[in-house]
């Protein structure tokens, strides 16, 4: 055994990475292989700016570590789950020689099997908000471990590993516009993500997320999509007949920055995903009355303008992700949303509109009392639903994973334990 992995040694090697979350505009719903997480159709997503929504993960290795451990948002969690183990095993099997000259650390390829890792992960948004935290989380875990272990595989190959942690995680390995190719191989080697365009390709787009208050406990997406595959008589038709054509159209819309087509495809695909959820036995409802009201507002506005101004899409929960064609539209949208879903009187504006707050300024909202001066949007006949939206996040398409500098480590560089 090389000196490098002598357990008496005190060194700790670590890497910290940041990975974005993503929102599907052509939805993934239904697995053809539960264990390998192989989907029944291709999907396409937009990566969200990690400045507003991301996971930061520090992975570290030391001969002093006696077993693999992980902390999520400061709490130690079990790594016993099959999905964590799969990602760890797949990455370890691709580990290469590492030589950190500065620290004088040398790890040989074959040593990795005997070494344990400590992992600390942190989301800069509420985990429970239903904002695809597992996608960013598994993407970040795989990306960071890949850097730590000097894995030579390219981003697409890494995405196929992240996919086995959480399907949609594979799409968080790239910025901009990303396609998850379902693949044909039974072993899933060709079920991976590719970048369609980077975040600069279409940088007028502005994204506003409405985090919707809900009294319901939602069906987990794992359980939900299993039930849909087993019971929906519409899902296979969607997967085989509808989605393949939509994927081609969506790729073209993104290529041409054709917002009209992009919005139409995004909205109809979101609605069809929720339709197959409803066609499941027992039926799954992810959207609630607030979600419906947001759709109604956007649909009526788009209709009155004659051409789509805003696209909406909903994942496995009631939160609305709205994509505005440009900043001016986003400003108008935020005004309409704030009028319709004003904060509870005890909420301050600063915690009610998160992310890129400059849009709030553009909308003329500088203080809570300014919300009351907004004009009633004609789309929803001036009805108001105070407190039905918990908060908004203003963001945009963003970059893919990056390695962060040493100061950002979530683990103590000496002990490998959370700071």
């Amino acid at each position: 055994m090389a000196a490098a992995v002598d357990e008496s040694q005190k060194w700790v090697l670590m890497v910290t990475a940041q990975t974005p979350t993503n929102i599907a505009v052509i939805k993934y719903w239904g697995k053809r292989d539960e264990k390998l997480i192989l989907p029944v159709n291709d999907s396409i997503s937009v990566t969200l700016d990690p400045g507003h929504l991301c996971t930061t993960t520090t992975v570290s290795v030391s001969p002093a570590f006696t077993h693999d451990r992980m902390w999520l948002n400061g709490q130690e969690i079990s790594l016993a789950g099959g999905r964590f183990q799969t990602c760890l095993r797949e990455i370890r099997s691709r580990a290469c020689d590492v030589h950190d000259k500065e620290k004088g650390i040398k790890i040989n390829k074959k040593d990795w099997d005997g070494l344990h890792v400590h992992i600390a992960s942190f989301n800069n948004f509420p985990t429970a908000a239903g904002l695809a935290s597992s996608a960013a989380g598994f993407a970040c875990l795989v990306f960071a471990l890949g850097k730590l272990m000097n894995v030579k595989e390219d981003q697409s190959q890494l995405s196929a590993i992240a996919r086995q942690g959480s399907g949609s995680a594979c799409r968080s390995l790239y910025g901009g516009f990303v396609k998850w190719i379902m693949g044909k191989d039974d072993k899933g080697t060709d079920s991976l993500a590719v970048q369609l365009a980077d975040e600069k390709h279409w940088d007028e787009l502005v994204i506003i997320i409405a985090v919707v208050s809900s009294r319901q406990k939602e069906t987990s997406s794992t359980t939900g999509m299993r039930d849909t595959v087993e019971t929906s008589l519409l899902l296979q038709h969607r997967a085989k007949e509808v989605v393949p054509k939509r994927i081609l159209k969506m790729e073209e819309a993104i290529r041409n920055r054709d917002f009209t087509s992009f919005a139409q495809l995004t909205c109809t695909d979101s609605n069809q995903f929720h339709a197959v959820c409803l066609d499941t036995c027992p039926p799954i409802f992810y959207m609630n009355d607030t979600s419906h009201r947001i759709i109604s507002l956007v649909e009526k506005w788009n209709c009155s303008e004659g051409t789509p101004q805003v696209a909406y899409t909903f994942d496995a929960g009631p939160n609305a992700v709205m994509i505005a064609r440009d900043r001016k539209t986003a400003t108008l949208l935020l005004q309409k949303l704030l009028y319709t879903f004003p904060p509870n009187s005890d909420a301050d504006l600063n915690s009610f509109v998160l992310g890129d707050k400059s849009i709030l300024k553009d909308a003329g909202i500088n203080a809570p009392e300014d919300v009351a001066t907004l004009p009633p949007p004609p789309e929803i006949k001036g009805q108001q639903f105070k407190g039905d939206v918990s908060y908004f996040i203003c963001t945009r398409p963003g970059r893919g994973p990056v390695v962060l500098s040493d100061e950002t480590h979530l683990l103590n560089p000496e002990t490998g334990l959370p700071k």
Copy 2:
């Protein structure tokens, strides 16, 4: 011209009929011919007891009438609509000789073209409650006119005329369990209703309707189904591949009084109908959070019992129609519903539970304060949603149209004007 139709004569001849409403258990959604109202698939319904939900219509003829007139719930309404005109024309063209010896009135077949009718119609339930009032209304109009004009066609032939007033009206020409055969003929001659079984065939069933409070204006079913046909990519698959098999299974379930199969088909078909509404562009939401909660309650109860106790189905609105396997189950269901959706404190029990109030007695509810003593149903974790249901109607499968006695006329026998 026969003396009978001398306009100076004062006689008025009238017939009053009562026709039930019906609730589809395999849904009709989508027309292949808008004008003739020809559907894209067969449907099956249960006729509801006219004692609780029905339309009563008086039709009258007199040489003194100068034009066709109609009153609905006491208000005169226009007969200019194409659907009224079609029904009137189709029935008139089949009119035969009428000889009322008692009154000394004789109308020859050929005289009908020169005679006008007065019609008065009355629903014994709120028209705006979304309880298929147009189905019962057109069925009653056609049935009553058929009697007045001595039309010789059988009930199925009449149903094909009522169909042209409102599609689902054709199913209200029979009691019990009714199938609307979509037919093949481009002219719609074979698109008509047949009775699968009468109301005595399966008389254990008890029906509870929850009339749900709603702030939304709903999409009319005419507009909604047109939009679905034009934009949903799932509807044709439903109509061609899914429904034909379900129809056969539902006929078998009804024949065998197989409640498990009946409930499963009823619930999944209701959900699929709402799924294709959601797959429409723009999407149509008929169910709201209250509807979802009712489904959740019933699904969880059915699941915990291991076998379905209650079926649910929703038409183009948020109201739930629940079919309980027997009276004991209906009593338990009503208890669970009253606990979960208690009346606003200002509502009295008598106007909160309508129809067959004996189920309320069986449930041990004799006074408003008894509602507060009900045990929390485990299915919905004791959550309560006061005021979210406007009222309940307890009913059962019921008979088809009947002619009522002269005392029930809604028009004055002398003047032919509303009483």
